[in-house]
Subunit: 396 residues, 2 copies
């Protein structure tokens, strides 16, 4: 296999760190040419010393100064070029030296660099689902040919389709959901959950935003919207099924009644590696212990149930926002980012997150999205509205 | 899709009838040009009146006379040509008018027509697993390109591989087994099972021979040997896992820990149709109720366990015969055909079937198989030995 020159956007996040671990395990296969992060200068400095990329980006000039100081302290010799902010992200996304870009920043921040990478003709391993939630309608036909999904569910479908996004022959796509830590709860009990409980996902180790979104099922709703754009399927052909063991990561159903499913460990390195190297599969089993890997036959039974959209209203809200289209998914996403931040800052309780989503979707007018500028404007407006509403939910 | 001109060998058996049902449901897609059966003249006559093939074959001249009389009575006009015995089967397998041959006769009888069809360059939908159990070592590289498996497990693997027999990238193949009606029994309890119990498969409706082979797990052993030849995998890379619900029909595991599985109803029309029309999938769900079809999410849990090779020794005997190679699988198959016939004739009890297998494999010398003639000779010798041994097992 030809060496992959990789740019990692969101290098110090959960996905970025897993990608770094894959790249380090297969040094003959990967050359990390760019790393973009936010404020975690310590880890970024460590990654730079391991991979020696030519370009690095951080959030602000303050982190830039800290990073350069740290790298000089390590005595690395020639320092990488260090960019800053949105411009730094864009540079990392479009670097001429990069063949592939792993888009793994969290939130709407990923929109511009993802589309910039696509516009530059880069193959994009896409972990930033917000790019598609907000901007999926802006994808051109050539863009889809450049994308490999990293989300475990979309990777599962991509694998079930033989490493393709062409779902034109399928009858239905089924996204599986663990159900999160509060599966089986009713609305009343959901009001009693603690901060720590919400941050404890039963099967996956992930960043805090997506962990909370998994607990509300908002994340699964985002995945429905993402799947709609990625696989060009109508919403009626996308189902969500709760599967608490997280062994089957998703499946496709054909018109003959046959289903093809992808199963496997709950370790994001698998989906990341497949997105980067498909159709080649790396010998991860030989190389590394994989989280959640259990050789078949599993000692646990696999069970399935319908999600409870009355209790986990965020899923129903997201599906409705997807069907409505226009700026509705952008409003949903912005409201979600604001509400989860407020929850993580202990400003609002867990159950109020969904109230904020409902409030924003009910009040903010939905407008068409015809450009990235439209998407960003919708995001900004919704964010402002949501921020202003947070105090309303503090004592509930 | 181009119309498929189909020859069905074993037209009145369980697979043949299912194939006829598929062909009848999609008359624009299938033209049945030949039908070969044994002694069920009544059903064959009915099939001839439905499909009006140009060639038909039966077991002996007696059935030939009966069939012609029956067809004349139906007033069909021009009668088909009617062949007899092995020569009739061969003619049906190599008919110039046929594009595809469904090889679905039961037992070693399928060996010659299957290889004749392959030699004639026909695409072969292979349900007769004995062709590969006995003659798998004689397949040339071009032959494999012509074969589409019909067995539900091998069809599952074929589907998981995207409609290909190329398993060179996989780490392991896992064949699932329902475990049959006697799953969980110990050796003592197996001695008490009745004729009717052995003929009642929990999940699949099949012919009597394969139903009994499923109850002993000999059928799963045959499938291991079949998979070895079909997918060119070493025996160490083929596992058997008991999965009582028969929802996952088999799966492949890749070196990255990912597994691709095929799931679906327990209706052979699915595997038959896929073998004939792949990569196209017929809208069987819209057209026909499928046996065992349950839309996802399933209301049952899926469970898995290791097969008990100490109680179901036929599986272990078959795996050992496969590894030994040469004529060992032919001996196993012949002994199995004789023993199951004796059981179906109520000459020996259920548990003695496996004793007969063990006896034959222990006593009959294993020789190399270098030609179809070698295979047939090994089959004949083993059959003779087994027949002679049957009386020994009558009162046990």
């Amino acid at each position: 296999m030809k060496k992959i020159r990789l740019s990692i956007l969101g290098a110090t996040g959960s996905i970025g760190r897993s990608a770094a671990s894959v790249a380090q395990a297969f040094p003959d296969l990967f050359e990390v040419v760019a790393l973009a992060a936010g404020t975690n200068v310590g880890l970024l400095s460590d990654l730079v010393s391991r991979f020696r990329p030519g370009f690095v980006s951080v959030k602000t000039d303050a982190e830039r100064a800290l990073l350069i100081k740290s790298l000089k302290g390590l005595g690395l010799g020639k320092l990488p070029e260090v960019g800053v902010g949105e411009e730094g992200l864009r540079t990392a996304a479009t670097l001429p030296e990069a063949d592939q870009v792993l888009s793994a920043v969290s939130g709407a921040l990923g929109l511009l660099p993802t589309f910039a990478a696509l516009a530059a003709g880069k193959k994009v391993a896409l972990a930033n689902k917000e790019s598609l939630v907000i901007g999926g309608g802006l994808l051109g036909p050539n863009d889809r040919e450049l994308i490999s999904p990293v989300d475990s569910e979309h990777s599962a479908v991509f694998q079930a389709l033989g490493g393709s996004l062409d779902a034109s022959r399928i009858r239905r796509l089924v996204l599986t959901a663990s159900g999160g830590p509060f599966r089986g709860y009713d609305a009343e009990r959901l009001k009693t959950v603690t901060y720590e409980e919400a941050l404890s996902h039963p099967n996956w180790s992930m960043g805090p935003k997506i962990t909370i979104d998994s607990a509300t099922l908002l994340n699964k709703g985002f995945e429905v919207i993402e799947a709609h754009h990625l696989f060009r399927l109508p919403y009626d052909s996308i189902s969500v099924v709760v599967h608490p063991q997280s062994v089957i990561h998703s499946l496709v159903e054909y018109p003959d009644g046959s289903m093809i499913a992808q199963l496997g460990p709950t370790d994001m390195r698998l989906a990341i590696a497949y997105a980067l190297t498909n159709p080649t599969r790396l010998p991860l089993l030989d190389n590394k212990g994989l989280a959640g890997y259990a050789p078949f036959p599993f000692d646990k039974s696999l069970s399935f149930e319908e999600p409870d959209r009355k209790v986990f209203r965020a899923l129903a809200l997201a599906e409705a926002a997807g069907r409505r289209g226009g700026s509705a998914p952008a409003i949903l996403n912005a409201a979600g980012e604001v509400a989860v931040s407020a929850f993580l800052a202990k400003r609002i309780p867990f159950h109020a997150i969904t109230d904020v989503l409902e409030d924003c979707l009910g009040k903010i007018p939905v407008v068409p999205i015809k450009s990235l500028e439209d998407a960003l404007a919708a995001d900004k407006d919704a964010r402002g509205y949501a921020e202003a509403r947070i105090p309303k939910y503090q004592n509930r």
